[in-house]
């Protein structure tokens, strides 16, 4: 088994404004993200030899990218890994280049969620069946996504003896941090400060998670141009090199095995271990400069701190209170505002996270720029606690 470390590089990236893109259909978003990436890489669209395209529910087959971008009969693969779809597009594109089959490829992810007329995701019943493993019977709990993650909050508070009110305040600090970072991100859906009091007083969505503990639903697209590491500098001075590409797919253990604890996402933990090993990282807390993590809910981010070994088990509280993960902390997390401020167009989010890692590593993150980052991590999950997948990508300059 070989490592992907330093075998491929990203030489261009693009990302649309995320939000309620009433004026754009998915094709326009795909074009906007891809052409920003082409321009950033300094390549001609015709240079693309193959593409990996991710969307969870906004279309089938690579035609969804081939037609708007006029990729003219080139190989396009559609990938899907639920909310981790964007990272999956990038992962497969990187492997194709590393295998030596292609030199320049496109990875693109998009999702058009706001045309369906519903708040929340439009297919939660079907998703529930997949998660619970009982297809077409609907003999599953009444389903929406927030309570599935709230189960983790209830259990975490119970296990570590945190009073639920104190726990809600800890989670609020994560939301407040990410909202602050969002004010510095022109492409974010939400760009305003919030206060702890606002978070705590907001309507309850799924106890103990309130409105501001949950990320929004939005439209968006993001893209990356991947090339061989040895060719990267012919395109630009500051390519970003892939150090690790890992994915962990859970066997639905949390749903089936009563010994599973519901205080973390094992997929994240396992993907983290594998990615650190692949990248040669021994002390992630010290070595990782910035992390873009999948904060679909505030409790998810809190448990990610522990799963990715940024905080010891049960000690995330101390780091939250110390402000360790704020922009000025020693390990800034979600420097662009995360899912909390960008919303979550499922197929695009993973590549949007990598867009931020890429810009930070190049020192082009504007007012939210972290000082001299060398290693960035993007963490993208699909599914729910107990039944999920996790993609982890580590990149460096």
């Amino acid at each position: 088994m070989e490592s992907i470390k330093d075998r491929v590089a990203i030489i261009g990236m693009g990302c649309t404004k995320f939000g309620e893109n009433w004026d754009m259909d998915s094709k326009e978003m795909v074009i906007e993200a891809a052409y920003e990436a082409y321009e950033d890489a300094g390549i001609d669209p015709k240079d693309i030899q193959a593409a990996w395209m991710g969307t969870y529910m906004s279309g089938y087959t690579g035609i969804m990218a081939a037609e708007p971008l006029k990729l003219m009969y080139k190989p396009v693969t559609r990938v899907e890994n639920m909310c981790a779809t964007g990272s999956e597009a990038l992962r497969n594109a990187c492997y194709a280049v590393a295998a030596g089959i292609y030199d320049i490829v496109l990875a693109i992810g998009f999702e058009k969620l706001k045309d369906n007329g519903y708040s929340g995701l439009p297919d939660s019943e079907v998703v529930a069946e997949w998660f619970m493993g009982t297809h077409d019977t609907y003999r599953v709990p009444t389903f929406s996504t927030p309570p599935q993650f709230a189960l983790m909050a209830t259990r975490y508070f119970s296990k570590y003896g945190i009073d639920p009110e104190e726990g809600r305040e800890l989670l609020a600090k994560i939301a407040v941090k990410n909202h602050h970072n969002g004010t510095l991100s022109p492409k974010a859906h939400f760009q305003r400060e919030i206060t702890i009091e606002q978070v705590l007083k907001a309507p309850m969505v799924a106890y103990p998670l309130g409105l501001y503990d949950c990320c929004g639903v939005s439209d968006g697209a993001a893209a990356a141009i991947v090339t061989r590491a040895d060719m990267a500098k012919t395109f630009r001075e500051d390519p970003i090199y892939i150090k690790a590409l890992q994915i962990s797919t859970g066997p639905r253990e949390g749903i089936i095995n009563s010994e599973w604890e519901y205080t973390n996402m094992e997929e994240t933990h396992r993907a983290g271990i594998a990615a650190y090993k692949e990248a040669g990282i021994t002390d992630p807390r010290k070595e990782i400069s910035i992390a873009e993590v999948h904060d679909c809910f505030s409790i998810t981010e809190m448990t990610i701190y522990e799963d990715l070994q940024f905080s010891p088990r049960g000690k995330a509280k101390e780091d939250i209170n110390a402000g360790s993960f704020r922009l000025e902390g020693n390990l800034p997390v979600n420097t662009d505002g995360g899912l909390k401020c960008f919303g979550h167009p499922l197929g695009a989010s993973g590549l949007r996270m990598m867009y931020e890692v890429y810009k930070q590593l190049q020192g082009k993150a504007g007012p939210r720029q972290v000082k001299n980052p060398s290693l960035g991590l993007s963490h993208n999950i699909g599914g729910i606690p107990g039944s999920g997948v996790c993609s982890l990508i580590i990149a460096g300059n």
Binding site: Y138, Q148, N257
Partner: protein, 475 residues
Amino acid sequence: MVGITSYGAYIPIYRLSRADISRSWGGAAIPGEKAVANFDEDSITMAVAAARDCMKGIDVSKIDSLYFASTSSPYKEKQAAATIAAVLDMKPEIFSMDISQSLRAGTNAITTAMDSINSNSAKNSLVCAADIRLGLPNGPREFAYGDGAAAFTLGKDKIIATIDGRYSVSDVIIDVWRSDKDTFVRSWEDRFVKEKGYNKIVYDAVSGALKKYQLEPKDFSKAIFYSPDGRAVASVATKLGFDIKTQIQDTMYDTIGNTGTALAPMLLIAALEQAKPGDKLLLASYGDGCDVFILTVTPEIENIQAKNKRGIKVHLQSKKMLPSYEKYLRWRDIISVEPPPRPPLQVPSAVALWRDRKRGLALYGSKCKNCGLPQYPAQRICIKCQAKDNFEDYCFANRKAELFSFSHDNLAPAIDPPVTLSVVNFEGGGRIQCDMTDRDIEEVKVGMPVEMTFRKIRYTGGIYDYWWKCMPIRE
């Protein structure tokens, strides 16, 4: 000799104060309360609950016929008894039958079961009766009707009450009825209904029974009468010569209401809970005629009374008041409310439901014979040790369990939000994620003991989909 060998009952936990109904419509306060099935209950789920209470400690494989009696079966064409049998994990080689369309269906079912045992076509029968009937808002039937269920086993061994006599009359009258196009029960003018219906027919039938078996009212410790309301029983019982102060079983009108087909059987259970060996009981139902039974309680009654049954007694005192009449109207889909901005409910696949009958209805999972971990749903490869095809069947329905985690969900489409999403861990291992029902938000705590209850989870595409939820222990 055939007799009753076990009993079980079910009363929904929710009660609606009749004063709340009258207050909503600006009328004078009417006394008492009625039992109200939750939005996820129907006559099948209530019959299951009563049957599970009845079957505690009884080997289900000993039952060879099952009767379900109701005027409110969820389906017009499709047998409810077959569903109940599957939920109770009964063997397929049974005779199952629905008896419906009359308030007398409950006692009709007891009669049929008794006859089949007498004729040696069955050894042990399970009879369940349940009703959930609707009266139009602010009408006398809405005030009167409550929801509930009763179940009995009948057989020849370990009889707790022998059935010594039976007498029936059949009668054609349009007094209380519901056509195939009606949702709400209709009634003709009250005085006609009483004089030519209930009062006359019950009197005729009980008089006929007493004459046939050469008995007098004074020979009975208790006479148990179906009663459409709180008062009707008094005049007919007095006219028959019973002492209404000492001999008449309380009709529970002020606590549960008229539970239709289930009422006479439920009242019999209430009487049996208090009965002593040697007591003679008279039971009379009503509906398109009248069935009369004469029973004698045996010493076996004490063994059954000593069992940990909920019966009428526990279910009666275990209750929660419905906070509002509007909630009842919503639960029964009498008033429509703005739907949540969510996609419409999906229709389950009949094929998938058929494949799922053992897992979904009887709540079977599997237990790994290699590492011992019980798992739901049944697996072929163990989640813990990955051993392949080395499992035994494992039923979760009656196991002790506790709440491992929960959330109160305001987002999911629900008839009675919030939905309490629950992770249930079972004693001895195994986990099921499901909704919690019959709970107050305030009582839900990590670690609380819960039990599994069979409920209706959706109605879409003409299909009633049933599964299990957890609930706080009913005690």
